[in-house]
Symmetry: C2
Amino acid sequence: MNNVQHEDVLPEQCNEAILALRDTIDIWGGKWKLMILLYLTINSNNKNYFMEIGRGISGISGKMLSKELKDLEMNKLVKRVVHDTKPITVEYAVTPYGMSFIPVAKALLEWGLSHREHIKQY
Amino acid sequence: MNNVQHEDVLPEQCNEAILALRDTIDIWGGKWKLMILLYLTINSNNKNYFMEIGRGISGISGKMLSKELKDLEMNKLVKRVVHDTKPITVEYAVTPYGMSFIPVAKALLEWGLSHREHIKQY
DNA sequence: GTAACCACTTTCTTATTGGTAACTATATTG
DNA sequence: CAATATAGTTACCAATAAGAAAGTGGTTAC
């Protein structure tokens, strides 16, 4: 099979669904964005400074943290607040809009947890 | 900042959460798996043959469809049934276990839909 | 004045993903 | 016997994602 001709077999509703799914993937996809949301959410009682987040998320590089935070900020999911301290510190926090994704992230996480249980029993 | 030393700032529960999230991403990540789940779910009244799925999902190549279906089958999320017809046909269907992800996929989809509404109003 | 800390950015390189097109194998149709 | 259909596989290539390392610019501590 080479690239298949698409002849709108599916209802309009389905194309919309596909686009919506892709949007979500575009916004939250990649290796680190969900981890950052998780970290920021769990540590929301503390101030989340750039270096702190980097230390908290095992394996992430400065470049990726910077890039992913910028992407999230662009989509208004995270807000960036610069504090005029001695060496400046920059705080990141999940916006109310970003929080609208938390139940979805939780669902993903919980499916992962139950999957781990599932494969333990073969 | 170069690669940060990780000094378990987060509770054990959080590491588990991160692993679970990563599992889910590993299993359902990539460009096509969620689309395939969606397609198979919506069209579950019909028999889903290989070529049909290819025609139904706009833009997917035979190689990717084959690969993604194989991955999903390996994780017992989709089952593959060969029918001994004139030219053989192969039917794919979401397993009950695969169906356990449908509510999660729906949540992703619905967030995407509401996000489309959200950005329409700036 | 040099070392250290914060918050990045830049450059270079590697790894992963995904796409195109051709090919295999079997079977039917005209 | 050539064309078409099903269900893939294989080889090659381009694009993207991600990692490693070094550098920037400002401030402060010793």
